[in-house]
């Protein structure tokens, strides 16, 4: 009987010190990771306290007496949270965040799945591989580069305007990134362009794992290609889709900060100011560290709740869960 090298040995009654001596290298290796996590994950969690302090100065060390003695925020510590909800920017920021995220959920989550299903139907293997390689190329561009391309294209006299004028759709050049109303569209479409091929990889991999015999049986029964997709392919990759969906909902308040920071400017701000941008600017420009921390905490908590709820729902619906 082959024993795997990570099973518990039957002599688990050894004392702590003996085991420590036996495992010393492994313990050091593991503890290095744990220490790293404590420093870079858990200290920031402790730093959440900043959100509950009345004022925080960026020069104050987190573990100093100075930090411990700064006064707590009013209203039982929730002063900044209340201020955020009352802030005139609050509704706008939430609308932008949810608007962009939901649009991305509707389009950028579903279209890669459809793309994967269609790509799977391509019969020529080489053509299929070439398409894959080409379509996930945009994923490797940084958002800075893509942002640069977009500002050139969508700007005054850029290619987009050239073509629109040529085809008579508009008669004067429009600097699209200068207007709030175009922002959501630009964000969603550019994100789709960038990630379509890449997101499809997971689904294509899942599809390739499906038992071919089911398709043979369906063909014998006379099922059309589309019927086969509907009754075999989709249900088989449903677990994958579900997990990706849970992750997507958990990240609903995230809106791809890297992308928005590049495309955001004072002129399109009314529609580009999302939660993360607001936190960043309030802290870095406005110096309101406690306030910004409070918003950040709010976001983390909501995201966690969303994740939890979606996970519960999918467990009930189709037995798939993230945790």
């Amino acid at each position: 009987m082959k024993k795997r090298n990570n099973e518990l040995t039957p002599l688990a009654k050894k004392s702590f010190w003996i085991r420590l001596r036996e495992e010393k290298y492994l313990q050091v290796m593991a503890l290095l990771g744990i220490v790293w996590m404590l420093v870079f994950n858990y200290i920031p969690m402790y730093g959440i306290l900043i959100a509950f302090k009345k004022n925080f100065f960026v020069t104050t060390p987190l573990f100093s007496k100075k930090f411990f003695s700064t006064p707590w925020a009013a209203d039982g510590g929730f002063q900044h949270f209340i201020a955020f909800f009352k802030d005139e920017e609050f509704v706008n920021v939430m609308v932008n965040t949810l608007g962009i995220s939901i649009l991305k959920l509707i389009f950028n989550f579903t279209l890669p799945i459809i793309f994967a299903l269609l790509l799977n139907e391509v019969k020529n293997m080489r053509f299929k591989k070439v398409i894959q390689t080409i379509t996930y190329m945009p994923h490797f561009l940084s958002w800075v580069v893509l942002g640069g391309i977009l500002t050139t294209w969508l700007g005054d006299g850029g290619l987009f305007n050239e073509l629109l004028i040529k085809f008579g759709i508009i008669d004067k050049s429009v600097s699209f990134l200068a207007y709030p109303e175009y922002f959501w569209g630009i964000t969603v479409i550019s994100d789709l362009w960038k990630e379509l091929g890449w997101s499809a990889i997971i689904y294509l991999a899942a599809i390739s794992g499906i038992d071919q015999e089911m398709y043979e049986a369906a063909k014998v029964d006379g099922a059309s290609r589309w019927k086969q997709i509907w009754t075999i392919t989709l249900p088989s990759i449903a677990p994958t889709i579900t997990i990706m969906f849970i992750l997507a909902v958990g990240g609903l308040l995230n809106t791809n900060f890297d992308q928005i920071l590049v495309l955001n400017n004072p002129l399109n701000a009314p529609r580009s100011n999302v939660l993360d941008i607001y936190v960043y600017q309030t802290a870095m420009r406005g110096m309101r560290y406690s306030y910004a921390s409070a918003i950040g905490l709010f976001k983390s908590v909501i995201a966690f709740i969303l994740l939890f709820i979606t996970n519960k729902i999918t467990t009930k619906l189709n037995d798939t869960a993230l945790f």
Binding site: N6, M29, E121, F140, W143, G147, G148, V279
Partner: protein, 294 residues
């Protein structure tokens, strides 16, 4: 029979084929356009009308790029951080993954729970920023390396892989007197080439493309990576471009800026473009293991 099935190309097949070609074209064209404009004379490019090939071929923009010391310096920072960051991160994460793959070690469950929590909850931007500042990482090259040493998600991928390795290898090594660290370095790592390639790829691309770390933590122009430098140029350019009606004199100066910007973007992206097609199987596998098994 198989051959008769393949020969019947349906209308559906043709439509799908056309759709795929359109999608491929749309994926490629923006990049292609950027490349041809960067190889075009800058004032001529402003006149528009260039779609498929440079009209007035010119290497001026690239000359400017390669002669700009700030840009060269920024490139070196990027290369340095990518190489050092990726190597250290892969090794560090693999090491922890190896330790945690041994289910019998003390505290394993506790360590795992500690790490899983970090996947679902975090402190937020400001506390993280303050933490790094307190650690002295502000305006410090190490801010690119140390905070990215460990990634719990990647660790899980390593851990799954190590669990699949046959026990016999380790046992015979132990009989020969090797301890855990020697087993890890001399036996496990050489066997892990595929996983290492995958994680190294993800890490490397992340390092290469990251711009925000530089924006947030680095003030010194000598320490900024090329993406951060590009960000600063583009952010200022887009702000000025959206202002209406610039006088003719100012436009001339913006002209060279645009082509130089594009040339810088091409040079920045070129290394990754060359490398990624060959590593397809690695990241496909990595994504599979990561999301399904993990």
């Amino acid at each position: 029979m198989a051959s008769s099935k393949l020969n019947r190309i349906t209308v559906g097949d043709i439509m799908i084929g056309i759709l795929m070609l359109v999608i491929c074209f749309v994926s490629l064209y923006p990049v292609w356009y950027t490349v041809i404009i960067s190889f075009n004379d800058s004032s001529d490019a402003l006149r528009g009308g260039i779609y498929w090939w440079p009209r007035k071929f010119s290497l001026e923009s690239y000359k400017t790029v390669f002669q700009d010391t700030t840009i060269i310096r920024a490139f070196m920072v990027t290369v340095l951080r990518t190489v050092i960051g990726t190597v250290t991160s892969v090794f560090f994460t693999a090491m922890v993954g190896y330790a945690l793959s041994k289910k019998y070690i003390m505290g394993n469950k506790f360590y795992t729970i500690l790490g899983t929590i970090t996947m679902f909850f975090g402190g937020g931007l400001i506390p993280y920023f303050i933490t790094l500042k307190n650690l002295g990482l502000y305006n410090n090259f190490l801010v690119y390396i140390i905070p990215s040493l460990f990634n719990f998600y990647n660790m899980i991928i390593f851990r799954s892989f190590f669990n699949e390795l046959p026990a016999g290898l380790e046992e015979s090594a132990r009989l020969d007197g090797a301890n855990d660290s020697m087993i890890f370095i001399r036996i496990v790592i050489p066997l892990s080439a595929p996983v290492i390639a995958t994680i190294a790829l993800f890490n490397g691309v992340g390092h290469w493309n990251d711009y925000f770390t530089g924006v947030l933590y680095i003030n010194d122009a000598e320490l900024q990576p090329i993406q951060t430098y590009l960000f600063r140029i583009i952010a200022s350019a887009s702000a000025s471009k959206t202002v209406v009606a610039m006088p003719a004199g100012v436009t001339a100066q913006q002209v060279s800026s645009q082509s130089v910007r594009l040339a810088t973007m091409v040079v920045t992206t070129f290394p990754i473009m060359c490398v990624y097609p060959f590593l397809q199987k690695y990241f496909v596998k990595g994504m599979l293991i990561g999301s399904i098994k993990g």
